[in-house]
Amino acid sequence: MLEPHEKAYLTALQALREKQYQQAAGFFDRAAEFFADNKEFCLLRETTRLLLEVKKEIAAAEGYENDALMIEEVFTDGQETILL
């Protein structure tokens, strides 16, 4: 039977493969306690965290802070759109 921390590490690697870095970082955190001495684990975890920080910096530099989704609603002829 796989232990929860092994599952978490596995899921983190799968998330990295899918380029889901935020999700991967979360799973690395869950497994961290049990892999603290594993150099490979620490390297992957720290690189993922660094990448997320870099992405955050880029977003801030380009004016998209806090991963906010900018939605602009456009009304035609001054009429509000009726949502069905």
Partner: protein, 241 residues
């Protein structure tokens, strides 16, 4: 280079590192994923309906179909084989506990398949580390100069150089294309790498993809512009070096 450009460059490098690190572990990841799936099936088999449920029967049938190669695989680690054996035994035990009226032809088939796996896994030898006596490290010294190697200095081996470059470009394409759904996404990544990292292989790969797309009737003008820009930057970097 602006701060954003530097950050973008760092982003590409880190993503590329993680991509390569994960691809190195692809084989191990596949094994762990298979073990994890079987573990989930074993947990589900402990549920109130046992293995008799159609969904569960389908899942384990699918698992056997996907991993049929493992039955003869000598490269699985002994710990992996033990885990698989334990999980299969657990599922087998749950089937045995299922009351007779709930037994179906599907559960009988699963039982037979588990028995076959367990018998084969015991029979297949486990690949252990090679005995130390047979391990040997041989260091060979190459010729000191091109003359010694029988190669005239003025005649560089262009075929070997091109073959090495083609190999590097192919490797880059395999890395970039793994998680992408369209060639244009690979081209976009490759142009980014050619521009930000000044990667020559990425430049060659971009040119190859653009020509391929053009040949297949795609509009490639915007990509050609980016390719020329990347080429200009790389030439600039070379002249400054």
């Amino acid at each position: 280079m602006s701060r954003t450009d530097s950050l973008r460059s760092l982003e590409v490098i880190l993503e590329s590192f993680l991509d390569r690190a994960v691809s190195l572990k692809a084989g191990r990841l596949q094994v762990l994923d298979g073990i994890n799936r079987l573990d989930e099936i074993a947990c589900a088999s402990r549920g109130p309906d046992g293995i008799g449920r159609v969904e569960l029967s389908d899942r384990i049938g699918d698992w056997f179909a996907r991993h049929h190669g493992w039955i003869e695989d000598t490269s699985l680690r002994p710990a992996d084989r033990n885990r698989l054996g334990d999980m299969l035994a657990e599922i087998r035990q749950e089937i045995a506990r299922t009351p007779a009226p709930m037994q179906t032809p599907a559960t009988e088939k699963i039982t037979a398949e588990i028995d076959r796996w367990q018998a084969r896994m015991k029979a297949v030898p486990v690949a252990g580390p090679e005995p130390s006596a047979s391990r040997k490290l041989v260091l060979r010294k190459g010729p000191e100069s091109l003359e010694e190697a029988g190669v005239h200095p003025s005649a560089p081996d262009s075929i070997s150089l091109f073959a090495a470059s083609l190999k590097a470009v192919t490797g880059l394409f395999e890395d970039s294309g793994r998680d992408r759904l369209h060639l244009m996404s690979v081209l976009n990544d490759s142009l980014k790498s050619a521009t930000l990292q000044k990667n020559t292989e990425a430049l060659l790969l971009s040119a190859l993809i653009i020509y391929y797309l053009k040949h297949n009737g795609y509009m490639v003008e915007p990509f050609v512009k980016r390719l020329k820009e990347a080429e200009r930057l790389q030439k600039g970097a070379e002249s400054h070096a």
